[in-house]
């Protein structure tokens, strides 16, 4: 039967109508694929110095399509690897934010009453705190491992998720179908997993997409300052910092990584907006 269309199927078709979101999705997929397999396909390697090509501008013939840096490392490969690291950290941090925020918000929203007010009061207090500066403090105090970085960056994002999920949970919990399910004899776990979670999923997916660019920006910010990803690994933030330092001599060192970063952030934001419109029929115009 072709006319059976679940809300998910409808959402997908609505997303496909959103041309900016589709284009973003295509660009993002291409960038992710390039970041994952690109360095492997390239004749150059990120750590190998090309002594004949130090600080060379972009040139198709030499094989260094985006030029080389001061040490003769191929910038295309370095940018792709930087993108991979930035994406990895951002996605991992977004997952940390989402899991923490969703659990916190859902528990607070579904419990209500005093538990809710205590939990959300905590979020309010943390919201007033300058999380980014705490991240700087943490990276000062502890070893700068990628795991700490992920945890720190993830901590900057979960508060908003918790608030959104809580209000969504409260709105859902007051809908009659939740009550109807209880009246049908469903157990609390059944209510949560059969009714609450599937209806929250749209919000959470949308937020994940909007969180990733935020996480990319925070990671790049820290790496730009030198307290994020540590050498020899480098993320887009490190590359931009290097490029900014060599601005007058080798501007291509800045332009490539910066363009990648901006493109990533733009595409994730457009995709997130598209998802939000697609998953929430009320927002459709």
């Amino acid at each position: 039967m072709t006319r059976d269309r679940s809300l998910w199927a409808e959402s997908v078709s609505r997303l496909l109508d959103h041309s900016a979101a589709v284009a973003s999705l295509a660009i993002l997929s291409a960038m992710v694929v390039a970041a994952v397999i690109g360095p492997w396909l390239s004749p150059h390697q990120a750590e190998v110095l090309d002594w004949s090509m130090m600080g060379a501008p972009p040139d198709l013939l030499s094989g260094h399509w985006m030029g080389t840096d001061r040490l003769g490392r191929d910038l295309l490969v370095r940018t792709l690897e930087g993108m991979r690291i930035s994406l990895l950290i951002a996605v991992a941090a977004a997952i940390v934010s989402l899991v923490l925020g969703t659990l916190w918000g859902a528990i607070a929203g579904y419990s209500g009453g005093r538990i809710d007010s205590v939990m959300m009061r905590g979020v309010d207090v943390l919201f007033a705190m300058p999380t980014l500066f705490f991240v700087i403090l943490l990276t000062t105090l502890f070893s700068r491992s990628p795991l700490l970085l992920i945890a720190c960056i993830g901590l900057t994002g979960w508060l908003t998720v918790a608030r959104v999920v809580r209000s969504e949970t409260m709105a859902l919990a007051s809908r009659e179908f939740i009550e109807a399910s209880v009246a049908c004899g469903a157990r609390p776990a059944g209510v949560v997993f059969r009714h609450l979670v599937p209806n929250l999923a749209g919000t959470v997916v949308t937020y994940a997409t909007l969180l990733i660019p935020q996480m990319i920006l925070v990671e790049s910010f820290l790496s730009f300052l030198g307290i994020g990803v540590q050498e020899p690994a480098s993320s887009l933030g490190n590359l931009i910092a290097e490029g900014a330092a060599e601005l007058d001599a080798a501007p291509w060192m800045l332009v490539g990584p910066a363009a990648c970063l901006v493109l990533l952030v733009f595409c994730f934001n457009y995709l997130g907006d598209g998802l939000r419109d697609a998953l929430d029929p009320r927002r459709r115009r």
Partner: protein, 340 residues
């Protein structure tokens, strides 16, 4: 034999306000008692905010009463005992007000109707379940093809039929219907009410019908309870209450019903603010708008006078004028007579 479903002296209040200081309390039910026999249809009428919906939810065990009891065939239901609640819900099911909102938008109609079977009648296999659901869909007048559809693809009336199917699929003895037609178009309302009347005749299910639509109640029910500000103010069979209303509030309700008749003037209604459930008056809850208010009404809540035929009224006027003819007042609840 005891009634199928009974409520004794239910008290429910909700704390209001945010944060740590929850001072004010909304008293939704103030000593409500009722009983529903097998296959009986009882209507509950009253203005919005009088506690009708709260009463429905307490009867299903969705809200725990502060005091009072729900009795199933004479046995009190323990609200903290999961098995007791399951038994209650196997016997009593609910039809909700918002047809679309009471169906999970991400489940098909089939999946929604299957839920009570899975939870309440685990003895059925998947194929038996499917057969039962298909049969039930026919009973409520829904095309079998709609089973695989989602709520947003159905009309409001179809959604409400699906909601009724979900309520009767596990073969309960009684349906609690919370304003089941008020969210529907006028033309659809009649169909749903007729469906409920048919179901009552065909499968003998009892109906507790909550509504503010008096004519629907008159059409469907045997007995009616009139609620005002969390109390039952009048109770009796439909003919008694609708032809000879005793409580001034019932009289007001009946006279404010608009009748489509050209040339008929709009009913003249008394002024005055309805009392707030946040701070119910010390005496009778209706003093603010009562046209025949007396001094006694302002201080002590009136007692309930019950005729031998079951017509009961909570009003001083009625005690005064009939005490010589009728039996002495039997309170519906002792608690309600205590001055607050």
């Amino acid at each position: 034999m005891s009634a199928l479903l009974q409520a004794l002296d239910l008290e429910v209040s909700f704390p209001l306000g945010q944060g740590w200081t929850r001072r004010s309390v909304l008293r939704a039910l103030r000593g409500v008692s009722l009983s529903l026999g097998r296959g009986e249809a009882v209507g509950i009428v009253g203005e919005s905010g009088c506690g009708k919906s709260t009463l429905a939810r307490v009867l299903l065990g969705l809200i725990k009463p502060d005091s009072g009891q729900v009795l199933l065939e004479g046995r009190a239901v323990a609200h903290h005992d999961r098995d007791a609640l399951l038994e209650l819900r196997r016997r009593v099911q609910m039809v909700f007000q918002d047809p679309r909102g009471s169906l999970n938008p991400r489940l098909t109609i089939l999946e929604s109707i299957a839920e009570p079977l899975r939870c309440l009648r685990p003895e059925f296999s998947a194929s038996e379940r499917r057969m039962l659901i298909m049969h039930t869909l026919e009973q409520v007048g829904l095309d079998r093809g709609l089973a695989s559809r989602y709520p947003h693809e159905l009309s409001g009336g179809q959604c409400q039929r699906a909601g009724i199917a979900r309520a009767i699929v596990a073969k309960p003895d009684c349906l609690v219907c919370d304003e089941p037609v008020s969210a529907l178009d006028l033309s659809i309302q009649g169909q749903i009410v007729n469906l409920l009347a048919d179901l009552r005749r065909e499968i003998g299910v009892g109906v507790l019908f909550i509504s503010h639509n008096l004519s629907v109640v008159r059409h469907l029910c045997d007995r009616v309870l009139v609620m005002h500000l969390g109390q039952v103010v009048e109770e009796g069979n439909v003919v008694q209450v609708f032809t000879a209303p005793r409580h001034p509030y019932t009289q007001l309700l009946l006279s404010s019903e608009l009748v489509a008749e050209p040339g008929r003037p709009l009913p003249a209604l008394p002024d005055g603010e309805p009392a707030s459930p946040l701070s119910p008056p010390a005496g009778c809850s209706f003093v603010g708008r009562c046209p025949v208010v007396m001094e006694a009404c302002r201080h002590e809540p009136p007692p309930v006078t019950r005729d031998p035929d079951g017509h009961a009224t909570r009003c001083y006027r009625w005690t005064d004028s009939t005490s010589s003819i009728h039996s002495p007042a039997i309170p519906l609840s002792t608690d309600a007579r205590r001055p607050r």
